[in-house]
């Protein structure tokens, strides 16, 4: 009897964690589509790494490990990081990729210093900040899932409201500006949405791998469709699916962290999509190419033959 209730309790945790991971995958998959199409795949990486000192500072200031407070700290730091990158690009002659690398490593390094400092102070409450590095979905509480759901929901709703504007921003910024849409504000909105998608995933997936949650589902989804709306839906579905599968695998085997497991699940889907997708996939493309070549070869031979007969 005791065993049974324990099992149920375990399942309860698993269900909560799976819901959380599914929400997370949906949000990061959908918004990651915009990052990928805007060729800002690495911006997500910078934001997630830059978020780390924010978590530490939020903890040092408040002394709590309340998920929402740490998330707010992460969001502020992550957002600041992306702002610094954009400012460097705008104000100096340093190129985008260099600015990105610079900010990513600086913020991340600072975050690591703060984390080590917190650990050295021997604060009894500090255990658990580490999970923001590699992610630990198993510790997700019902309240955490609620936070993820609300913040992620807000981000998705904003994405839907400004669908047309964001699409135009990504496809043709110059034209968008010429017809009067404020590019900087839209840019600000898009970056903020990405920041939300990233910080809500830090606890489960970790800062190191969070950007893959944004990029991988979108890359896979692009293989299957030529429509933005479908791409967003497919990416969200892939994100949710790998979130759940990855969480389950890492939950049943105790020593595997969730983040890497989820990412490996997504990677399998990406690999499959790159090879087997109908229009953009390598395999069918290769087959089509060969078939066409054979047809043209035959046609050429026939013509040559015809000329000889004449």
């Amino acid at each position: 009897m005791e065993y049974l209730s324990l099992l149920l309790q375990n399942h309860y945790t698993l269900i909560i964690v799976s819901i959380g991971a599914a929400l997370l995958g949906t949000v990061s998959g959908a918004l990651g589509t915009y990052a990928v199409l805007r060729r800002q795949s690495l911006l997500g990486d910078a934001i997630s790494h830059a978020a780390l000192p924010g978590i530490a500072i939020a903890f040092m200031l408040t002394g709590t490990k309340t998920h929402l407070i740490l998330i707010i700290g992460a969001a502020i730091a992550g957002w600041l990081g992306s702002l610094v990158i954009l400012s460097i690009v705008r104000l100096t002659r340093i190129k985008y990729d260099s600015a990105l690398a610079l900010v990513l490593s600086t913020f991340f390094g600072f975050g690591l210093v703060l984390h080590t400092f917190i650990q050295r102070t021997g604060n009894a409450n500090q255990a658990g900040l580490d999970k923001f590095l590699f992610g630990q979905a198993a510790t997700m509480l019902k309240s955490d899932v609620l936070t993820i759901g609300i913040l992620g929901g807000v981000a998705l709703v904003l994405m839907l409201i400004f669908w047309k504007e964001l699409k135009l921003l990504i496809f043709d910024e110059g034209f968008a500006a010429s017809i009067g849409f404020p590019i900087r504000s839209l840019d600000f909105l898009l970056t903020s949405l990405l920041v939300i998608a990233i910080v809500i995933g830090l606890q489960a997936v970790g800062a190191v791998l969070m950007s893959a949650m944004l990029v991988a589902p979108a890359v896979a989804a692009r293989q299957w469709t030529n429509r933005l709306s479908l791409m967003v839906i497919i990416a969200a579905a892939i994100g949710a699916f790998s979130g759940v599968i990855g969480t389950i695998i890492s939950s049943v085997t105790t020593r595997i962290p969730t983040g890497p497991t989820i990412i490996l699940c997504t990677t399998v889907i990406v690999g499959f999509s790159i090879v087997f997708a109908p229009n953009r996939g390598l395999l069918l493309n290769r087959i089509r190419q060969k078939k066409n070549r054979r047809i043209f070869k035959l046609a050429t031979q026939k013509t040559v033959l015809g000329e000889r007969i004449q």
């Binding site: 199409l37 135009l168 496809f171 034209f175 500006a177 017809i179 030529n226 933005l228 479908l230």
Partner: protein
């Protein structure tokens, strides 16, 4: 709009500088309504920058731009823009009809989505550029000439009075070039003002009735017959021009 206006576009004392050297220096330019104008000049002459400055896409260091006597921000709805084809990612997941409908986004304003009316307008524009059969085509599967036609269709449904086009002939074949020229001349016949960044000096006299010669400074601007002279061209291109034998 002031129908008696004598200037569709009025640029005064415009200077644009990104770094140490100016890209455009003290440009004065009056474009009368109803002309088809070519902006011509060597690479780096600032042709694209001039278009962008007129559209308020780059902030000038000095100077002023008026469209029908008002600043651009007040006249957005009567200005249509065709950017250079190469400035967008043609592998973006969308189709021809969708791109053309973007021409109505400005009129739609925030949040409102394009509907049946926009779809009909887009189809009409696609017919005008001879692309109606391609409406559901993914844009990455278009040839460069077809891409250019899609961009033109998008500008057409802006239903503008003044059109600014950045190299609409770039990378298109002779047939498409003819079709585009016919379209531009049709726009002019309907009283529109069309400003085109152009590269091919051979066709300037055939296609256009006004020309602006630009090389950082405005060398000359006016009707093609008076302005497109070998003296002006030599000044614009620095004497490296050999083909204009008969002028």
């Amino acid at each position: 709009m002031d129908t008696k206006a004598t200037k569709a576009i009025e640029v005064t004392d415009l200077t644009v500088a990104y770094q140490e050297t100016p890209v455009l220096w003290d440009i004065d330019l009056d474009v009368p309504p109803g002309v088809l104008l070519a902006i011509v000049g060597p690479n780096g002459a600032g042709k694209t920058t001039l278009i962008k400055a007129i559209l308020g896409l780059v902030r000038p260091a000095a100077g002023n731009v008026l469209i029908y006597n008002k600043p651009y921000a007040a006249q957005r709805r009567i200005v249509g823009y065709v950017p250079q084809r190469g400035t967008v990612d043609w592998d973006f997941p969308t189709n021809v009809l969708d791109v053309v409908m973007m021409g109505r986004y400005g009129a739609l304003g925030w949040i409102r989505r394009p509907g049946t009316k926009e779809r009909e307008l887009a189809m009409l524009a696609l017919q005008k550029v001879g692309m109606e059969d391609y409406k559901t085509r993914q844009i990455s599967q278009l040839s460069s000439g077809q891409q250019q036609r899609v961009f033109l269709a998008r500008a057409l449904i802006q239903d503008a009075t003044v059109y600014l086009m950045d190299e609409p002939f770039q990378g298109v074949d002779a047939t498409t070039e003819r079709a585009i020229v016919t379209l531009l001349q049709e726009l002019r016949e309907n009283g529109k003002t069309v400003v085109v960044v152009h590269h091919d000096l051979q066709t300037v006299t055939d296609y256009f009735d006004w020309v602006t010669l630009l090389n950082i400074r405005r060398i000359a601007s006016g009707p093609v017959d008076d302005t497109f002279t070998s003296d002006n061209l030599r000044e614009t291109y620095g004497g490296r021009i050999a083909f204009m034998k008969n002028r």
